[in-house]
């Protein structure tokens, strides 16, 4: 469990190449993960080519790790391949709906995370790009994704540029995450207690100063995850889901 406990997200990569044989080995390990009915209704698009990275970058708001990482992996739901198999085998596929999208999306994330664990175990560093579902239509165009293929998450992977010297990022105490038997809504004191350590971090105080905000929560609601942005990207995500054929 050690590599799970000391991990950090890595956004700056060295020039060291990620060998194809190692990449294949990790992808194979990832595909051993649990998946719905063993349909493996997912695909992984490997991007190494600089032109393709340049084309993908805007979809990820030009985060520099897209260009700098030796490898970018886009994990997609894929009922195109499954559907083709069905049609070639006198079977009528019925995966053009929200439930099929959901279970395959869960499977795609499971594969992605197993890949990340395997990568971190051998000294590689990864970074998730949540922007995948913000700008899915651009990614669909750049990667030529056909009907019933939808990008769910992206990771950049490579050897870390620098040794890990920064402290681990903070996490809430388990009290804020884990409930016994039933969910118990937090009272005012519990919320204060759960967030106390996070709010007292030097980094948090620095954010307040830089952004001229009174509370850390405001950094989330007014700057990083604004309601209007969430709603705008909800709409574009819904369009992508419909465009790829998962919702009428």
């Amino acid at each position: 469990m050690n590599s799970l406990n000391i991990r950090r997200t890595v956004r700056a990569y060295s020039d060291k190449c990620l060998e194809e044989t190692l990449l294949i080995e990790m992808l194979q390990s990832a595909c051993r993960s649990s998946n719905t009915g063993n349909m493996q209704a997912y695909s992984i698009i490997v991007t190494r080519c600089p032109d393709q990275k340049q084309a993908l970058a805007p979809a990820h708001f030009n985060q520099k790790q897209v260009i700098d990482a030796p490898v970018v992996l886009t994990f997609c739901v894929d009922f195109n391949r499954v559907g083709q198999w069905c049609l070639q085998r006198k079977a009528t596929p019925g995966f053009d709906n929200l439930q099929a999208l959901t279970y395959a999306a869960i499977d795609a994330v499971i594969v992605a995370q197993t890949f990340c664990v395997a990568a971190e175990e051998v000294g590689l560093g990864i970074c998730y790009l949540g922007t995948t579902t913000y700008n899915a239509e651009t990614i669909i165009d750049v990667l030529d994704l056909p009907q019933l293929v939808l990008p769910i998450t992206t990771i950049t992977v490579g050897y870390p540029k620098e040794p890990a010297i920064t402290p681990l990022s903070d996490r809430l105490p388990l009290e804020g995450i884990v409930h016994q038997e039933k969910y118990s809504v937090f009272n005012l004191d519990a919320i204060d207690r759960i967030y106390a350590e996070k709010e007292a971090l030097e980094e948090s105080l620095r954010f307040l100063e830089i952004n001229q905000k009174e509370t850390l929560a405001q950094i989330y609601t007014d700057i990083r995850y604004k309601k209007s942005d969430n709603e705008f990207f909800s709409n574009s995500w819904l369009q992508a889901i419909k465009k790829q054929g998962f919702l009428k």
Copy 2:
């Protein structure tokens, strides 16, 4: 990477108790995973109590591992806690939408899968219950999930009843999963090649005989993942998403 490569889903558990300290340790490791903006917009409901397992079982179509496993974990998106924190800190939360649901659902699955890897590393066995999004409303009721908390996936965990003697379950060759730079739609020959090994398995041939079907694909489309079922459960999933406040 070894434990990733030899893993199997475990549905039958021994009577051996899962110690609370080990469970906590694994949950802590799981929460070190990447997550969106370090908001940790997820919760994990632990079910050990037999009554609660009985209450959850119907939602999982009475799969017996729900009753037999020492521990059942339901991984949920949770913007209730985040929202409360915001309101207590003069911030206006805007997470009642599809994009927030999506990134938190990805995070919930990442945590679940990291937990599974940690569990398998210490000799425990896990089983994912995809039924979570089929019958989410029942789970919401049984676990008392408030607004903006939605169950995404469930795992059962415990020590395997029997040593792993069965062969690993099959997987498609990477040719069927991994695309270089752009998605290339499979032609007829490629589909035949990708599915050849799976279709030739003794287990697959036995399924055909038992179910009186001509092709393995028909087992998926006519029995296991029927279009009408997928559509029915798409509708109930959409209702649950709306009920919990993520879609108007």
